[in-house]
Point group: C2
Chain length 124, copies 2
């Protein structure tokens, strides 16, 4: 299964999903899928800009976790007025990121990312 199939599976399963990526901590996306409805909007472009910023912040959180005794970071979510962003660690170099409408299914999104992360990991 390719990365794109995994991303299609995530976006297909989660109500309100706008876009999903496998990203490196350097902010460069390995693969990105935008939900068909979202792709028509210029909003999706803004999202990938946001994710580059978030990748940088996630790197800092990861480094902080190494110093603090909280154990490795597994998941981070950033909820803003117009966008929910969920990030799930895959390897020390890569993570999955999913953008959702605020009305989207947050619980299902967390679950689907958790079960998909090991599948993506096995292909990296």
């Amino acid at each position: 299964m390719s990365f794109l199939s995994h991303l299609e599976s995530i976006v297909g399963q989660v109500d309100g999903a706008i876009a999903c990526s496998v990203m490196g901590f350097d902010g460069i996306a390995v693969e990105t899928l935008q939900a068909p409805a979202a792709a028509a909007q210029s909003a999706s472009l803004e999202i990938t800009t946001a994710w580059v910023e978030y990748a940088n912040i996630l790197t800092q959180l990861k480094n902080a976790a190494e110093v603090l005794k909280t154990g490795p970071i597994t998941e981070v979510s950033v909820n803003s007025e117009h966008l929910i962003t969920l990030m799930r660690m895959v390897t020390p170099e890569y993570f999955l990121v999913l953008g959702l409408k605020p009305s989207g299914n947050y619980g299902k999104a967390r679950y689907v990312l958790r079960v998909t992360a090991p599948k993506v990991k096995s292909e990296l």
Copy 2:
């Protein structure tokens, strides 16, 4: 109602809560409450150290949100192996932060912070 009463109410309602604070974005806590069981552990000290780090990262997210068109940040969660941290914006200067065991009630924690934030805001 004082800040401490709000923090007591949050910690009392959420299974697995370890500690809760009203914090400034400068990383200085206005008021902190540790759950009685957690206060006995040295772990709770580590948590407040983590929060100072998180406050700094939250400030960056807040600044990023002003540039990006995602709207203001409302909630951020950082889940690591031994600790779930939920942060809820209260005002542009202050936020509520709650530390939970990974086995704690995440959904209830989100709900309780969401309804308590306006009460804390009205006293700031």
